[in-house]
């Protein structure tokens, strides 16, 4: 097919639109001046300031903990849910489970956050648990909404999985539990990794739900950033953003390279 000028031009403009704000953000993180939009000389002082800010560091540490634990819980529950939905075609409440697990995908964060907060308050009043809100309640909330994403990712991989592989293992004498650990799990492992990473990122990124269910003294990183950004531009947020973008870019790059390396095998299969 011959190619016109239209597609390359729009694609270029589109990518420019996607990246220009990010690039300017990164550039101005090295700006000397507090005015993030006026260039006054190269400096890394905002990075220094960032690492000297106990509030920021504390929030980052809290967010990392929450994201790690939530992603892990979401991975376990989401995988179980995906297995239930894909492998067990008939059980009571299957449609309810399928509907409920995908509901958080379309549920606005404000509703999820409010609902969980009201639940925690009601539970505390009647059961005495959870006492106050903080790490535990944020983890529960994040696990719940991340689980939906993990389920979707694992579900699509499981659906593609050739059922005769599991049958072959069973035929060779493996009990269902063995089959799961010997055959299913290793084959869907890449999906589990991406599911976990997705959950981790979503948890790390969530502002709204965490704002509802966190208590005093348990502000996550997005909450701290939001309160700073609301007041105006602050260069240490630029520095933080640059670090995050650097990590993500590295991670995505590594993942792409790994994927490209395993590609020829997959094609031949």
């Amino acid at each position: 097919m011959r190619r016109g000028w239209f597609l390359p031009v729009t694609a270029t403009l589109g990518f420019a639109f996607l990246y220009a704000p990010i690039i300017s953000l990164v550039i101005f993180s090295f700006n000397e001046s507090r005015l993030v939009t006026v260039w006054s000389g190269f400096s890394t002082k905002w990075y220094g300031e960032l690492f000297a800010d106990p509030q920021m560091l504390g929030a980052a540490w809290l967010s990392a903990q929450v994201a790690f634990v939530s992603a892990t819980i979401a991975l376990v529950l989401g995988t179980l849910c995906a297995v239930a939905l894909v492998r067990f075609k008939r059980f009571r409440g299957r449609t309810v489970l399928a509907g409920t697990v995908s509901a958080p995908l379309v549920m606005p964060d404000v509703i999820t956050g409010l609902a969980l907060l009201l639940l925690f308050v009601a539970m505390e009043a009647t059961l005495g648990w959870p006492a106050g809100r903080g790490l535990v309640t944020i983890i529960i909330a994040h696990s719940t909404f991340c689980m939906a994403y993990v389920t979707v990712v694992v579900q699509s991989r499981l659906t593609d999985l050739d059922l005769s592989l599991e049958e072959a293992a069973m035929d060779l004498g493996a009990t269902p539990v063995r089959v799961f650990f010997d055959i299913t799990l290793p084959i869907i492992a890449p999906a589990l990794v991406s599911g976990w990473l997705l959950a981790f990122t979503l948890s790390l990124d969530d502002l709204v739900i965490a704002s509802f269910v966190s208590g005093p003294g348990s502000s996550t990183l997005p909450m701290v950033i939001f309160s700073k950004v609301r007041l105006g531009v602050s260069p240490d947020v630029n520095a933080l953003a640059t670090i995050i973008i650097g990590i993500v870019a590295l991670g995505v790059f590594a993942a792409t390279v790994l994927q490209l390396r395993s590609r020829p095998k997959k094609l031949r299969n």
Binding site: L165, G173, R178, R268
Partner: protein, 382 residues
């Protein structure tokens, strides 16, 4: 062509009413919702047989195989293997192994690990597993490929790994689902031969599901033809081809000419059928279970009809009809003639090309006589 196991008559257990079957399928029915995938099938299979279940898609042959493996539970009926009731036994507790159509090789394990998988599940000692794997690899001629992953193998090699893996546990019964289906034609013929050789060497009972009639004919000791969830006929390949029991079986295997007729003479030593379709009488030189005036069908294979220019002897005033050669396909070893009978019906006739470049062979638009023997065709009532 693969060599069929040559068994003397007295070693064919299915001909011995006292023989004990190895696999005994009794009135097995499988319903998926309201659909009968398998309907009231009873079947006996004997030790060391290579039994082929032959049928089109949706005939229920794969469902029957999966019930033998334990992946599906029969809705009704029982399955006995080696005298033990296996109807409700889980697949991992059956002395049965299966070779899957897709081979189902575990992609994350190498060839050795694939073959060893079943042995590990039996908790055999390490040394024994290694010995057994090496033995199997040499059996399927893949000794140098043990460390390869499945995706590094060709289709034929994968097929052999799947076979080795299924044989590793020395099952009493091996189930093979379209074992040659994914191979190309040339490889298929070679592998067919190897498969029979391995089966003969090991003496394992094989049940093979296939939709390929040629494959079934050349592999099987016996064939079970399946149609719409039921067994249409069970028999040795020659029985199935030469003595089909129904119009379905006659039409399903090979090509056939089928004509409708009415019984006009029904004697113990012969039967005469008047067929308007053929424009002549059919004289059958043996007794047939039928009644005068009954409408039935007569089926004859194309190679059982003889073509001639001159009118042949006609002692019974039957089994001769006239027509015009309409079409000839020259296939080298033989030629297929399409003869348009005076009655308007078309007959398919094959003649072996025994003379090289025969200038005198019957050709297009020639009027010919079609003749056949009194024993050439099958009389079918269903």
């Amino acid at each position: 062509m693969a060599k069929k196991p040559q068994l003397a008559i007295d070693t064919r257990p299915w001909r011995d009413p006292a023989a004990k079957p190895f696999v005994r399928i009794r009135n097995v029915t499988k319903k998926f919702g309201d659909v009968h995938a398998v309907h009231d099938v009873s079947l006996d299979i004997y030790k060391s047989e290579l039994f082929c279940l032959l049928g089109g898609s949706g005939s229920g042959k794969s469902t029957l195989l999966r019930m033998l493996a334990g992946f599906e539970e029969p809705t009704a009926g029982t399955i006995e293997i080696d005298g033990q009731d296996m109807t409700h036994v889980a697949p991992y507790n059956r002395p049965v192994n299966m070779m899957f159509q897709s081979y189902a090789l575990f992609p994350h394990m190498n060839v050795e690990q694939n073959i060893a998988y079943g042995l590990k599940r039996d908790h055999l000692p390490k040394g024994e597993i290694a010995d057994r794997v090496a033995e199997l690899l040499s059996l399927v001629k893949l000794s140098d490929y043990g460390k390869r992953k499945p995706h590094q193998l060709s289709g034929g090699q994968r097929q052999r790994v799947a076979l080795a893996r299924a044989l590793a546990k020395r099952p009493k019964l091996l189930l093979l689902d379209e074992p040659l289906g994914a191979l190309d034609k040339k490889l298929r013929e070679e592998t067919q031969f190897e498969l029979v050789k391995i089966q003969e060497t090991l003496g394992v009972t094989f049940i093979v599901v296939t939709h390929d009639q040629e494959e079934a004919m050349s592999l099987a000791t016996r064939i079970g033809v399946m149609n719409q969830g039921e067994i249409a006929m069970i028999g040795e390949p020659t029985d199935i081809y030469e003595f089909p029991n129904s119009r379905f079986v006659a039409g399903f295997i090979g090509s056939v000419n089928m004509a409708e007729g009415v019984v006009i003479e029904d004697e113990p030593d012969h039967v005469r059928i008047r067929s308007a379709e053929l424009g002549c009488d059919i004289y059958v030189d043996h007794g047939v279970d039928c009644a005068p005036d009954q409408i039935l069908w007569w089926a004859v294979r194309p190679e059982k009809i003889h073509l001639s220019r001159e009118a042949p002897d006609n002692p019974h005033d039957a089994n001769v009809t006239r027509g015009l050669v309409e079409e000839i396909s020259y296939l080298g070893d033989m030629s297929v003639y399409q003869v348009l009978l005076d009655s308007g019906k078309r007959l398919r006739v094959t003649q072996t090309n025994t003379v090289r470049g025969n200038p005198d062979s019957i050709t297009w638009d020639e009027p010919v006589y079609c003749t056949w023997g009194g024993n050439a065709g099958s009389v079918l009532t269903v």
